[in-house]
């Protein structure tokens, strides 16, 4: 039941080539849609029926997002793909760009047709030079084969697609910061509302979706929304890519149905490294609160199960930590990240992330004070929900998760000025 959607071509030799993609029926869905002039509403309904939720982290229903666009509004509309992939622990979109770029292109053209857009951009993080070149080559192939450009399949529908390269900024994964960045500015998130569906790229109606969300579209339409939904479980339709890394034997990206037990995913990844025991898991990228290993072993990998346990599925980035890790050190590194990556626009985030880092750092280096844990608790409350974008929450949640499940380790550190482990 693995590799049904975004990775369904992984058994092919050089699967990124157009001829390989076409050998498996690639671009046939697009051709059918355009030749039949399929009503756009039908496409959006099918995506809604699939239960696809945004794979970038927030899990917003994709079909619903598309239906917010007023197709008949005058002027340009845009489809933007978010391949910024910056959430620590996440490395799945890179594999889509490298191994299945045409499915992403086909998904973006279909999305464009569905919302009445004639142009799209794929925002690829600047460090992903090799995946960018792979994607560019696929764009060239698609253009020469007539799958991108004007009057596609004689339908009168035009669609141009370009990639935009970032230059190193986690915040540009946030959708409105990403739009600012394409517009040639610093990546500072915009106030919402207005949402991108009304006021997006260049002020025009825009949908923005994660790479994996868009690459899933051709398969969803080919096999039907009901089929996709049936792969997963209640509230979590479909299969999903999980990037699993940490103290495990065979880290990698696995496409499995949502609702698969975590223990099975861990097994697919070879289990824990020789002689190491599972201590904790970050189930959805570094912004997701950490959970104890024994809690994780009883959970299934779907939105509801992970949320009920007090964390989130996020981007599907699973970081597995063994018992040799000091949780204070892990949190110190994560807090440093958010401090480093805050765009500086909102005071609670700009100042708060620095405070979080400095306080965790002083605990880690043996200078912690007994009142520091309450101070951390208090700061997270004063950051979360008080900023323009969710980076503030992303910085606060790991701290809250750590203090909830591993408070004793922090207390030990403060009292004894050294680690409980190692």
């Amino acid at each position: 039941m693995a590799n049904e959607v975004c990775f369904r071509n992984m058994d092919q030799d050089r699967p990124w080539l157009l001829e390989q993609y076409r050998a498996r029926g690639g671009y046939e869905m697009l051709s059918r849609i355009l030749k039949e002039k399929m009503p756009p509403e039908k496409i959006i309904d099918e995506v809604k029926a699939s239960g696809l939720r945004g794979r970038g982290g927030a899990g917003f229903p994709t079909g619903l997002k598309w239906s917010f666009i007023n197709r008949n509004a005058p002027g340009h509309k845009y489809v933007v793909c978010n391949s910024d992939e910056g959430e620590p622990g996440t490395f799945k979109d890179r594999d889509i760009l490298r191994y299945n770029p045409h499915q992403l292109i086909e998904g973006m053209v279909i999305a464009g047709y569905a919302i009445g857009a004639t142009c799209g951009y794929n925002y690829i993080r600047g460090e992903f030079w090799e995946p960018y070149e792979r994607f560019e080559a696929a764009l060239e192939e698609a253009r020469s084969a007539g799958f991108l450009g004007n009057d596609l399949f004689g339908s009168g529908f035009d669609f141009q697609l370009h990639s935009h390269l970032g230059a190193g900024a986690y915040i540009c994964g946030e959708e409105t910061a990403l739009l600012e960045s394409i517009e040639g500015k610093k990546g500072q998130p915009r106030y919402k509302p207005p949402f991108p569906a009304h006021f997006g790229l260049y002020g025009c109606p825009t949908i923005i979706n994660n790479t994996e969300s868009l690459a899933s579209i051709p398969v969803i339409l080919e096999k039907g929304g009901a089929w996709f939904k049936g792969l997963g479980v209640e509230n979590s339709g479909g299969s999903k890519l999980f990037s699993i890394s940490g103290n495990i034997k065979n880290p990698g990206v696995f496409e499995i149905p949502l609702g698969t037990p975590f223990s099975e995913l861990l097994e697919m990844a070879g289990g824990m490294k020789e002689g190491s025991r599972i201590k904790a898991v970050i189930p959805g990228g570094s912004s997701a609160p950490i959970l104890p290993g024994d809690v994780m072993m009883d959970l299934t990998m779907d939105y509801d199960a992970i949320a009920k346990a007090g964390s989130m599925l996020g981007s599907g980035a699973v970081i597995v930590l063994d018992d040799s890790n000091c949780m204070v050190k892990v949190l110190e590194r994560m807090s440093y990240f958010y401090h480093e990556e805050s765009c500086g626009q909102c005071t609670p985030c700009r100042e708060g992330t620095g405070w979080l880092y400095r306080v965790v750092n002083r605990i880690e280096t043996g200078r912690g004070r007994p009142e520091d844990l309450d101070l951390l608790d208090d700061m997270t409350v004063k950051i979360a929900g008080r900023t323009i974008c969710a980076l503030g929450d992303a910085a606060a949640m790991p701290v809250q998760g750590m203090l909830k499940h591993f408070r004793d380790e922090f207390e030990y550190h403060i009292e004894h000025k050294r680690c409980l482990v190692g």
């Binding site: 620590p88 622990g89 996440t90 993080r125 230059a167 040639g184 890394s245 990206v253 980035a317």
Partner: protein
């Protein structure tokens, strides 16, 4: 950010753009410009800075950013803002090879600290510094989206994963002088 959205290019279009960069750089920047609506030349600023940095030894200067501003009809300050916001733009000279080591969580728990230590000793340079022969710059970076290959680093355009001291030796031996 309000409801208005216009390019920041309020300056008079600059003349004699050919004088700003050589033909190769101009052709590359023009490819980026062509991707965006004509009134949004400034969307090409990130691509342009990247190209100009690469073609000038790996770092930017105020003069180079001024030229990018003139080429794209942008206010210089708007280019400085972009140039200083994104971490891949350098504003101090760098070595011929920039080694960007990821130290984020997945890499850290797989030995990134030892990788950094090994590099610092081998190159006799600290994180953020450049080796005495000007060949290498060592830089700490955040998660590069390759945690499955932790520990890892990037040199130039390429990722190197599952690093060990032996592997690092052979990678560095294989680089151009």
């Amino acid at each position: 950010m309000g409801f208005k959205n216009i390019p920041m290019s309020t300056v008079k279009p600059s003349e004699n753009k050919q004088a700003l960069f050589n033909a190769k750089i101009r052709a590359e920047i023009d490819k980026w410009i062509a991707k965006y609506p004509p009134e949004w030349r400034q969307s090409a600023v990130m691509g342009a800075l990247m190209i100009v940095q690469r073609e000038h030894g790996g770092s930017l200067t105020p003069e180079l950013m001024d030229n990018v501003a003139a080429y794209l009809d942008m206010a210089p300050i708007a280019v400085y803002e972009v140039g200083s916001f994104y971490s891949m733009y350098e504003h101090k000279p760098v070595g011929r090879h920039k080694i960007c080591v990821c130290t984020n969580v997945s890499c850290m728990i797989n030995g990134a600290d030892q990788i950094v230590e090994y590099l610092e000793q081998k190159l006799n340079a600290r994180l953020g510094g450049t080796s005495a022969d000007g060949k290498y710059t060592l830089k700490e970076v955040e998660c590069l989206g390759a945690c499955g290959g932790a520990p890892m680093f990037q040199i130039g355009e390429k990722y190197y994963e599952n690093l060990t001291p032996e592997l690092i030796d052979s990678i560095l031996d294989g680089l151009e002088e």
